[in-house]
Amino acid sequence: MRAMWFIAMKDLALLRRDWAGLFFAFGFPLLIAVFFGVIFSSPGESRRGVELAVVDLDGSAASSELVDTLGAAAELRVRTAEAGEGTELVRTSKAAAALVIEPGFGEAHARAGVGEPMRLRLMVDPSHEAEGGIVRGAVSRAVFADVGARFGAGDADVGSGLPLVIEQEQVVAEGRSPFLVTFPQGLVWGTLACASAFGISLVTERRQGTLVRLRVGPVRLWQVLAGKGLACFLSILAMSGTVVLVGAIGFGVMGGASRLGVVAVMVSVAAGFVGIMMLLAVLGKTEASAGGIGWAVLLVLAMVGGAMVPASLMPEWLGPIAEMSPVRWAIVAYEGAMWRGWSFGALAVPCVKLVAVGSVCFAVGAWVFARGARASL
């Protein structure tokens, strides 16, 4: 029992000496809890709202009223669109969902609950299912509040049948599957795992003394770092290639994809995250803290970037920050190349951002690492 106690005390003492590890064990969870708690609990804080395109094919007074009601909903950001435009807005990620008010909506509204129900068609980006649920909720609330009020006021035209049907469909090209959403996300998570392993290997190289061994050879420090970065870059490419190959053969994710575009995105994402991890690795003193820091920062980037929590639930002020998340750029770029049908020009924007940020991070990280390596002799 005493031995167990001594071992526990020794391990706690070691943890206490590792400041980065200590922060990520105690400070970081607290920070995350408070930060996201503040984000989700501020009652007066305006949310970004779900981007919803509304196509009114009915043109009746009832449909106009529905558009106005939805426009006033706090959780939505409504824009009107022409027939056929809604699908395009969703496909190009300019709207999370599009609501089509079908012809006949006004007539059905007049006899709500009697005969044909009011029909709406909701088109949702498969990567924004959560936002789709929010839209369904808002639409149902608007319609049922109106119908309920009329029923309560004794409107003779209102019956007790089903007044509303919302048909939901995913906006993907014909023959596409939900794997189109999961594979880009899987690729990004795989990239984060490879990058994290790279960060840890850098710390290992320093801790086990092999970095000094390499430096006393005819090898410059930048060559050592570039070599390690290259290994990480290649491992990310190998992982991405394997995932895409499996996705293409087994799940049809490359059906309408731009192959060259996907390769360009793979290269950009790999370059970007090698650089980012280089910067994060220098913050860790031990392998454990380097890995912890890497994952912690990347998780925050993923959360802020909307990979874990719908961006529409974030406060408005977080919008520009979310747009700056490399995790978001990576997912958007993969989706753009794999199924959104983006042009090379459109793909170039997230790709160039990733490469640029990766290059800057790599340069800064290498500089800090070199300083640390000299000081550790």
Partner: protein, 296 residues
């Protein structure tokens, strides 16, 4: 099978292969090296002998160009060791084991040899030779992570020699090793001497310096206190021979220039259990120079 790797050009014609001139180096307020002047000749096995913290390792890092002196110069065959071309001719075995645990002994040496520019048959032949030399030929395919401390130390040394360097820096090469590995390392240094390789060896083991080194510099607090062959140092500071008398009451040491006379004086004493003569050694020299033991 012997391979003299000829990848590197000779280190010039200078007699002095490694030269420290007025070298100073501090870490913050701590002065690690304080006016070091040393010149190590071609083919010499030179010992830097001193206690921990004497500045030996700092001197090694400066000799290979990883650390810049605050003052003074370090030259390898008259050139700056920070230059990659010069560094290629130097081999370093750091005090801490610097190997890849997940690679086998052969893979470790092969990787480091490739970095040094060795290729194919020359590399394989050199790796085989070194594994044989350090007694690890039968363990060549085992991962370094499973080796004992002594085996790791021997492999660490072999890694410094893989490219056939002309100047070898061994930082505490026998620290914490078993007797078998110690002898293997001694044999390796003897082999390097045969090959005409210049060796700088740092140690705080007096026996090691006495046995291996042609010349020794005794360093303390970053300064060279004395320099010369082991015989010269003992002659200057060792105080000759001493007679060691084991009595019932304990051991007594008699410093004397006439040991036979001293022995005759104690033999009649009935409390004498035994008597023998010891030559002075580097421990005595160090004690005389610093007033304390090298292990203090």
């Amino acid at each position: 099978m012997k391979t003299r790797v000829a990848a590197a050009a000779p280190l010039g014609d200078n007699r002095s292969v490694l030269c420290f001139t007025g070298v100073e180096k501090s870490y913050g307020r701590i002065r690690a090296v304080d006016g070091l002047d040393l010149s190590i000749d071609r083919g010499e096995v030179f010992g830097l002998l001193g206690p921990n913290g004497a500045g030996k390792t700092t001197s090694v890092w400066m000799a290979v160009g990883l650390l810049r002196p605050d003052a003074g110069t370090v030259r390898v065959a008259g050139e700056d060791p920070a230059d990659a071309g010069v560094r290629r001719r130097i081999g370093v075995a750091p005090q801490s084991i610097a190997l890849y645990d997940e690679l086998t002994a052969r893979e470790n040496l092969r990787f480091l040899g490739k970095l040094q520019g060795l290729r194919r048959r020359a590399l394989e032949s050199r790796v085989d030779e070194l594994l044989e030399r350090v007694g690890l030929a039968d363990r060549a395919r085992q991962r370094a992570g499973g080796f004992s401390g002594g085996m790791l130390r021997r492999l660490n040394l072999a890694a410094a020699l893989v490219h056939g360097p002309e100047l070898v820096l061994l930082d505490e090469p026998t620290a914490g090793v078993d007797p078998q590995s110690r002898h293997s390392i001694f044999d390796l240094v003897a082999w390097l001497r045969e090959l005409g390789t210049t060796v700088l060896l740092t140690t705080h083991y007096l026996e090691e310096a006495q046995r291996l080194c042609d010349r020794v510099a005794i360093v303390d607090a970053g300064r060279v206190l004395e320099l010369g062959t082991v015989e010269e140092l003992i002659r200057r500071h060792g105080g000759g021979q001493r007679v060691v008398v084991d009595r019932i009451s304990g051991r007594e040491e008699l410093q004397t220039a006439e040991p036979m006379r001293a022995i005759a004086g104690v033999l009649d004493d009935p409390t004498t259990l035994g008597v023998h003569v010891e030559r002075s050694n580097l421990e005595d020299v160090f004690l005389a120079l610093t007033g304390r033991s090298v292990r203090d």
